[in-house]
Amino acid sequence: MNRHKPWVETAVRWILALVFFFAGVPKIADPGTFAQAIDNYRLLPYFAVIAMAIFLPWLEVILGLALASGRLRRGTALLTALLYLMFLVAIGSAVMRGLDIDCGCFGTGHRVDLWRIAEDVLLLAGAVWLYCRALSDHPKPENSQAN
């Protein structure tokens, strides 16, 4: 599992980092619009919408920084995978319910549709791959250390 060129992992990390930056920064600049975008999904109560609108962009930017720098890579891989899974569920549910809304992915102007799902699946695949890499790099408990 570890026998692959390290630049592949670096490339995946940087792609995901850039996506997080481009997604997070406009939302930090305009949390009101992002709150509206979240609310459009009709999944969360008002309070949760506000909390998510403030918190999520910062999480994206911090994960972007962590991905780019390679720091805290295990936790970053886990959160990145969970975040994309959450996005996928939200976008998928909107498509299934026939909501014709802005996805709120990168500021405004990105309609929720099958392309967004495909895009999300790709990013999720990258995140899951990083997660698996992080798991395989993790030191095995006692017995495996004996060797």
Binding site: G32, A35, N40, F55, R73, R74, G75, D100
Partner: protein, 188 residues
Amino acid sequence: MKNLLPHQMVQEALLLLALAVLAAVISVLVQGDSLTNRFDRRPIYYTEDFSSSLPLPTIAIDSTADASAAAVAQQLPMISVEQLQTLLEKQQVTLLDARLPQEYNSGHLPGAINMPFEDWDARQQLADELPKDKWLIAYCGGPACDLAELLAWELIRQGFNQVALFPQGTEGWQKAGFPLHERENSDE
């Protein structure tokens, strides 16, 4: 499960979450004005931010339409349950249900056409067929729902000049003791 979530991985994840929370709290403190002031629960219509380009409506309530409880200028004319009932009896209005088809099917006002605000294609198709000589009354679930208002503004933007709002929606209609209709054919 432990193998899938090693201790160190969870610890790092919690640290990142804590950093994000800290950054979010600081941003709220620095920004000063509350986000809730800027967030009024208006859905974003994906093609454009129409809220910045709304035409100022110049609707004067047509006395023949008997919708005398108009709001002041630059606001949508609003009608009460009683007025709506009168208008429906006189068949002077077209009622538009701005909710999603599932909600419309579960119960809507008599004679209402489903024109879901959030479905661009359906909305456009219906807009071409709407009568220009009748008042269009938009409604949704109730006062807390803003789909009707958004639909009304959108219709005004498209050139309809006799658009009003029934803010009480299905909730107010039922409270007034009137029944909702289910699965009415709205093709005509």
